[in-house]
Every structure is written in C-alpha cells, then in structure tokens.
Amino acid sequence: MDARTERTIPIASANVKSGAFEYLTTKKDELVGWARKFSLFPYPFVTACCAMEFMAVSSSPYDTDRFGAALPRFSPRQADLLMVVGTISHKQAPVLLKVYEQMCEPKWVMAFGVCATSGGFYQNYAAVQGIDRIIPVDVYIPGCPPRPETVIDGIMQLQDKIARSKHVIV
C-alpha cells in the first residue's frame, strides 16, 4: 500500500463533555454593554491640529485598536462614536449637527481637546464655545492637544459608561 491510503485522520471527540466550562449566567445589559464597549466604530470629525494627535493615538505606538475602537467609518451611518477632533466654527456647526443626526442609535460623542470641549482659547465670534451647545457629549478630553494617554483614558471612561448603561433591545 502506498503512503496516501495508509494515512488516517483522527476524529475529534467533539461530543465528549468535559464539564469544565459550558455556560455562564449574566445580565442582558451587562452582556450587550460588554459587546458594545469593545466594538466602537468611530467617525472622526477632524477639523484642526488635534488631528495630528488623533493620528498618533490611533497608530501603532498607542494603538486604540486594543480597545476595539480603531476602525474609523467614514460614513456616519456606520459609526457609533462621533469623535469631534478640533475647533468647530459657527459656519461648520450645521454640518456637525447633520452628521450627528445621521448616526444610528446607540451613539456616543467624544469631545477631543479643549476646542471641542469649551472653545479653548478661541473666545471669539467665530468658534462654538464647546460642542455641547449643539450636541450632547459623553466624554470630554482636555488638553491642547491631549496626550495620547489622556485619549486612551477617555476611551476607557467611555467604555465604563457604556458597560454601566441600560441597553434597550427593540
């Protein structure tokens, strides 16, 4: 007989139950929250110099992919985290509002840097003094620009918030 016909394929003993780990119990909100907090799809609404810091935090040295929040979607309809990165001018505010309204529930908003948080040092006629005057914000990240560690801390705080909140299944 040649070698090919001699070879046997071992059959996995799939139906043998070990009894070690077969099921667990949890709550619906905790399960859905756990799933959602590790699958954040950000929509980067990037307008200003904080974009450089956004690139730094999303690339390999700091790597927000570790938190499941790395894959940017460039359509708001596919995203659930709106990252507002940079100064928002009054001329731009209608665009930001429209992008926010186009996102599907559940959705979260991150104000990245002081300009998005409070207008920063642009205390003038042109800048929106904080995007929370237009859209609700879940997590504020201070700094001009924020350190990557600050952003990661903000993402983790948002994850905690998602994990703690109620998740209505319709």
Partner: protein, 157 residues
Amino acid sequence: MATALAQRLQDRLPLGVEVADGIDMPVVTLPPVALLAVVGTLKGALGFDMLLDVTAVDWPGAPQRFEVIWHFYSTTQFSRVRLKTRVPEQDPTVDSLVPLYGAAAFMERECHDMYGIGFRGNNDLRPILLYEGFVGHPLRKDYPKDREQPLVPYRTY
C-alpha cells in the same frame, strides 16, 4: 536696496503719491483716486506682477477711519512694495484690482467680510470666510469679539 527701489518708485509714480522706506519694504501712501493709475504703473513699468495681500486697518476715531493696504511682489526683481490709502467711515470704498490681478477677487471678498470695505468693480463680494446672514464686520474695533451669531439653535436638553 530698498532705498534704491524707493527712489525708483518715487521717480515713476505721479505727484501726490508719497514713497517712504518702511522697515521691511517701501511704503507708498496715496489718495484713493490715484489707486488704479499707481497700481497700473507698478504692474506695467515696475514689474510688480504678483498681488500678495489685500487687508485693512481700523483706526477708530480717526477722520479717515479705514486704512486699506495692498502688498505686491516682483517675481523678477524679488522685491516687495506696500500700498496704503485711507477711506472715511461713511463711504469705505476703493477701486477693485480685479481687472489687473485675478488674485484680488477672493482677497477683496475677505477684506469686505472682515472690515466692510467696498471694492468698486468687484461684483462678487459675497461672504467667503463668514456666512450668509452674519451681521457686522468682526475685525472692526467696534465689533465685540465674543458676539456670536450661531447658525443652529443651542441645545436646551
């Protein structure tokens, strides 16, 4: 070099136009009516073929409140020149440079946005940095710097 250039400008430009040596480039001060003639000479005979900037300065309380300023550059002589003229608050209007320099169109729009300077001959002075419906001219000294004019209603929830 700047002094020689200033002398050459003084020789070529019409009477009533004052040429001084600024710290960085010659400064030509002229009445608004002489603008098109002087700029024509600058572009044609003196080789200033590039318009760099159109802007203004607000001097509140001065009899001629607005000072309109142009910067020119010569891409062959590598030299610059600055033009200044004064216009009153009641009629802050100067001639447009669009027939001579296409680049003037957008910069005059910006200057009209920020200072409310009118440019005779530029028939497209729509807002370029500001938006439709913005009242006032924010770089005038009497515009409160924090007077916002939001386009979307602020959130109340």
